[in-house]
Point group: C2
Chain length 225, copies 2
């Protein structure tokens, strides 16, 4: 029987690749998506399409109301998505503590499933400078997970797998392509419309387009302009 | 102007005392409660009463659907609350990753508020053996918080305050009593009824009753039997 893993799945390019990698490593993948009041809700539809295409042992969507806190361009409609090009520093699309919250909920589900493995598609090379995408953050969360849980206390080592963390966007796309990921199903844009069509000018669109160009592959992203 | 703090508030004895302590230390307390599908929902009403009595800068309730994962007597109606007395080991009332999730959501709100201080009323002396109530868990979360956030990366040291962690239940009650906490407003029971009346036989009821007895104070808990 395949060992169970929890895979965080946003519906974007990175998490779809991460699911393909976890599947290829022989895990029974339980995918976890979130409705946290994000502006780009088209990604939840994309997550469902990706699960159907790649296969998974299960898929759940957990709601948590980050919009009531605001403080990010992704959760507060009053803060505009930057479209002028990637700038140094942490952008306003940073959602406070988002990856900590998502990994915490994944940890809860993993413990109930009896899983020791959590996959997350964070990337610290071609990324937006978010603090919770760095290797030191993942290592600190893994340490916390083993102190926080009954499983950890009882000696079952929990692992946080971040297989994309040291890959360039181009390398991620090549890896996913080799594993049969259909990137036309994924949505990366921070302000995709309801049909999942991308703006082409936000940081996420720019990183994605540059990644496909560097990989020498055609980007199947549908743009609305 | 008082510095802002986020205070986790369940509506139980410990978190009410923790709020009183944070208030006494001069913080403007933003209280955070959770509706996670817990069986003892009377505690949310208790949290609102405690906020009104002790005073706070704000109070929010965040929903997150832990009940869909189950795996705990507090979130799954099919698992009975133990009532036979406190046993060694981690009991079935342990909710997987609960304190990690709650602290993560507190971290998100703290970052939006510009707060560097989070208070949590965990206790590692007269407690139920939960792994996420231990000092090493709190230290690991504080370390994580400073790696996870924009605030941490930019050099604002975030602190997780657990002022009750080394106190006995009797010492907590004496401290709260000295700060004017009205414990009749709080609900500790794992299976309180809708009026907040306690069962008297679950672990939480036993710890509370023993604490009042050891403190030499009258327990104002209303019991339903």
């Amino acid at each position: 029987m395949k060992p169970p893993a929890v895979v965080l799945l946003s519906g974007g390019l990175d998490s779809a690749t991460c699911l393909a990698i976890a599947n290829s490593q022989g895990f029974a993948c339980h995918c976890l998506s979130f409705d946290y009041g994000q502006r780009h809700n088209a990604e939840l539809q994309a997550a469902a399409r990706v699960v159907k295409a790649l296969g998974a042992a299960g898929h759940r969507v957990v709601d948590f109301g980050l919009a009531q806190f605001g403080g990010s361009a992704l959760t507060d409609p009053a803060i505009a998505i930057p479209t002028g090009g990637i700038q140094p520093g942490i952008p306003v699309t940073y959602v406070p503590a988002r990856n900590t919250i998502m990994l915490s909920l994944a940890l809860a589900w993993a413990e109930v499933l009896g899983s020791r493995d959590i996959f997350v598609g964070v990337n610290a090379v071609d990324y937006s400078g978010y603090p919770d995408c760095r290797p030191e953050f993942i290592a600190a969360f893994e340490r916390l997970a083993n102190l926080a849980t009954k499983a950890g206390v009882e000696g079952c080592k929990l692992s946080i797998h971040a297989p994309l963390i040291h890959l360039s966007k181009a390398a991620i796309i090549r890896a996913g392509n080799a594993l049969g990921v259909d990137y036309s199903l994924t949505v990366s844009c921070y302000q995709a419309d309801e049909q999942g069509r991308a703006c082409g000018i936000c940081d996420a669109c720019r990183l994605r387009a540059e990644g496909f160009a560097a990989a020498g592959l055609t980007d199947p992203t549908p743009y609305r302009i």
